[in-house]
Symmetry: C2
């Protein structure tokens, strides 16, 4: 295949309207000029998007597959996203629902550095779902947050994720907080190792700072002992993940957080499909873990939408290795057995605010989580 | 005022549901923990969002004003956006429609460096709307694009904007293209000056590259002679604009392009209001010019939505100086007189693909635009 393809869900009144809309997308996301002035030759034959097929899917709904040449994207993710859903994101009734990569694309965008397998090795946990407490709330001082890190890591957490709102506020500035939390997790890991635990907790601080400081802050966090990072593509751009994932000086796993991305999936008619955004696009960017709001929590995703996300994180037919889905958003320990049946072991189980209810007994909560997620033990 | 405020449009069934949703937003975008575990003192009194009022606006529609303390945001734009519409962007029926800054906020986020007045001085045009041809399509070689720059600048264009799809592709790589185009515009400006023209065309190339290269590419462009930049916050993040706007080593105007931002405004129930996204948020980021799709073009914005954008770009009751709106998206010269009546002189009038129809007579088209936008001359 000399072209990669994007499938769009279109709202249209007739086959001919749907075909016209598909042609409009093919133009819009590449040349953005009227069809009658497209120069013949290379620009028309290679750079211009090409409508492959347009098929009715339901009343007033069509699916259009459009192929693009890598030359339209170049080598940088921002322009690739321009081609996938740039200006077409502003057209009414256009939703990108599937990315079909070709070799040109995967040669330039390799996906996650760790993925599901790499994370299992890094954490050293041979089986079971991942126990992932979320350290919060913002406004807490560094010592309080570091203590939460220690308590949860010591009790057997696999991943210590910072709340995405812990940024660089005065109450717990990024550098001071990350140094203290990384040290707390390291101390817990040493104690676990001394007891014969062959797995470790990895600490993933939230990148808090300016967009152009991401690499410096990531390298600082690594130097301080963090074993990964949380990053918000809806604020920093998907390419921020991509650059770190490809950066050998960093070389740690990245967890992507969905903040500010809601409008891309909440409308049936615009943005991305759930699986495409939280699965395919996160893999394209190079995230190792994709956080999304679980069904039945505070957000309104359905079980089918969550299944679509998880499938897109795992299917071999996509960019880079399979990655770990991470459902969260108002979960509690009593829901974990059901979630474990639904999502299985290769999944990061987030537990945030409800953990705070346990107060000084937070370690008990982590142990309960651990046993719910490793039913065989 | 010790707090800034955001107004949200809520979809709810009753006053009590609307109030519950407002309280959920106030928690979600700050602490993200259950209300009953919020620590007393600083976190509850200062960091937590505070619902100011919730009023019904229409059937099933409410408006809720929520105030936030700058401590929840800190000093970096990504976290400020987290507070304005981070996780709340994923809640069903929540749309941010107004930002009411306070001094804490404007002290930390000063807005545009140039704004409408600064641009008029820089371009040296005392009156009339701005003539802004868009250089395209991608796939063209550098010489072709540079020639379009020369022809349009020579004929009297005010702003030479690159197409947002001209990135860093092999056909016209960023550095080579920007150097050639800047030289072409400089030559045209010299010839205009020799004829007594006291205004100049400014060349605004599109940042094409990786997210972490924005500053380097911006400084390269400045060194090469560009007098501004086009940047896409939907791909690079709003903070990419903010950092350049505040960077004294750069010190040039920034034009923001709406690519990839469609889903934030297309749903009535999610994302941002048109004026808030393309006016207030662009001013908050520090853009000097905000490009948006005009009504009656290829995109479906209504005249009222466009008016809302333009008002939000111009009102003094916002962050930083008034900025220039820039309607585009399938415009043609015959629509300019009507647009000029609607938008007035402090507006950048984009003309892209349709200019290519003029072929070697593109200079005539620019002169026609100029006379349509300076009716008194």
């Amino acid at each position: 295949m000399d072209r990669f393809a994007v499938t769009y869900r279109l709202v249209a009144k007739s086959q001919s309207d749907a075909e016209a809309l598909a042609e409009a997308i093919a133009l819009e996301d590449t040349l953005e000029i009227p069809r009658d002035v497209v120069p013949a030759g290379y620009i028309e034959d290679v750079v211009l998007g090409r409508v492959a097929d347009v098929q009715q899917a339901a009343d007033n709904v069509w699916r259009a597959r459009i192929s693009y040449h890598i030359d339209a994207a170049g080598r940088e993710l921002p322009q690739l996203i321009n081609v996938i859903l740039g200006n077409a994101s502003i057209l009414r009734g256009v939703k990108a629902v599937n990315l079909q990569p070709n070799k040109d694309l995967t040669d330039r965008f390799a996906g996650a550095r760790f993925g599901a397998e790499g994370l299992r090795r890094l954490i050293g946990k041979t089986k079971g779902g991942y126990v992932c407490p979320v350290i919060k709330p913002q406004g807490s001082d560094t010592a309080t947050l570091a203590d939460l890190c220690y308590q949860t890591a010591r009790a057997g957490a696999d991943i210590i994720k910072e709340d995405h709102g812990l940024s660089n506020q005065d109450a717990a500035p990024f550098k001071k907080r990350v140094a203290a939390c990384a040290a707390a997790v390291a101390r817990a890991n040493e104690e676990r190792a001394a007891e014969g635990d062959t797995s470790q907790a990895i600490y993933m601080p939230n990148i808090g700072g300016h967009g152009d400081q991401v690499r410096d802050l990531a390298l600082y966090a690594k130097e301080a002992g963090a074993q990964g990072l949380l990053l918000i593509p809806g604020l920093f751009g998907f390419d921020a993940i991509n650059r770190l994932a490809r950066d050998p000086a960093f070389g740690l796993p990245i967890m992507a957080h969905p903040s500010h991305l809601g409008p891309y999936v909440l409308s049936p008619d615009h943005g991305y499909g759930h699986g495409m955004l939280f699965g395919q696009m996160m893999r394209l960017a190079g995230a190792d873990i994709s956080v999304f709001p679980n069904y039945g929590g505070r957000f309104g995703f359905t079980q089918d939408e969550c299944t679509e996300i998880v499938d897109a994180c795992r299917t071999p037919d996509a960019v880079g290795p399979a990655i770990l889905p991470s459902p969260g958003g108002g979960m509690s320990i009593d829901r974990l057995p059901d979630m474990m049946r639904h999502y299985g072991e290769d999944c990061v189980y987030l537990l945030g605010g409800s953990l705070l209810r346990y107060g000084p007994k937070i370690g008990d909560a982590i142990r309960e989580m651990r046993s719910a997620l490793s039913p065989g033990d």
